[in-house]
Symmetry: C2
Subunit: 192 residues, 2 copies
Amino acid sequence: MPSPRPLRADARRNREALLSAAREAFLAGDTDAHVEEIARSAGVAVGTLYRHFETREALIEEVYRKEVDDLCAAPEQLLEHHAPQEALRRFLLLLVDHAAVGKGMSVALESIMASDSPVFDDARIRMGDALTRLLKAGSAAGTVRGDVTGPTLLRALGGICAMRVSDGWLDEARQITNLLLDGLRHGAPHAT
Amino acid sequence: MPSPRPLRADARRNREALLSAAREAFLAGDTDAHVEEIARSAGVAVGTLYRHFETREALIEEVYRKEVDDLCAAPEQLLEHHAPQEALRRFLLLLVDHAAVGKGMSVALESIMASDSPVFDDARIRMGDALTRLLKAGSAAGTVRGDVTGPTLLRALGGICAMRVSDGWLDEARQITNLLLDGLRHGAPHAT
DNA sequence: CACATAAACGGAACCGGACTCACCTTATGG
DNA sequence: CCATAAGGTGAGTCCGGTTCCGTTTATGTG
């Protein structure tokens, strides 16, 4: 019932284009990209942007939500195609990439945090659950120690997001991630 | 050498008025008070505001810095006039009051955090030191347990600031503070 | 394959709010 | 008391998000 009409083909295209343009902009570090820019680089006019999103912030929020959704869907996929330990590694790297977007958006999002929007609490919880799933799988397989919980690991990773955005930060973040992975492997029954 | 000219009398008055007007506004919860309002309620025109502060953010930042300064000067005073334990109690209450301002300002400050400004790291460190001083005094007097550090306590208090601003929050924050104080007293040699 | 029509689009205009500037006022020291 | 430079003023500019309405286009129907 939340689908009164299936949404016209070009409309869906444009909506998508807008979201990806916004995502792009944030990834590029253009923290406060103007609606005009976003619209233009999506090949549409501002009016169109506002047809799809109530407000600038609404668009940003949507990008973020999408990001979280993608991320939370990942563990399932990863566990299908990889050993738990490798799945965990890949997921953490995804998380870091996500942090890159989140970082770019964080400033913009802070105004949202002030309002009632549940994107953040939501995101944190779902993220924690995703990590828990991976850790459990690893622990069951005996390649990851069992005394670390999802939320704990998330918090450990949280420090990464607190890092100032400077040129080399992404690589550095990845190194930290690897370090954490080594730590997690350490103490597991079948240590590699 | 950072005082080329002593600053004219009325100028100093106005500058002061602006700072206190801004502080007032933030305390009242008017998170994004317009420069016009601030200027008017300080009894001056916007031009004057901009004569004294490079930008709106600069004014906000200054208020915040002042707030932190006041706060960090407090322990000295309090320890002179009160027993360590009472000094600690009073300081924590000051901190909460400060959080009221900080809260109102936090949204505005977030944009500053994104820039290079060191107000925050600075503030955190200095706050931690201030708390450490009080805790040490209390521990020396034997009325406060000795296994808690300033930064730790600050972090514990940090949770208070994360609280959503709702009508009753100030009282609630004060209750939490009292709870913490009881906790700190607990386990001290000369427990009351 | 028209045609009708509702959906979607474009972009100029609007509006609110931070910031500037050319001119006026006043403190200050001689 | 005057000269003068520091200080104050506020209408105006600029900028960026948001609105609104005339135009274009996808879609389903005869």
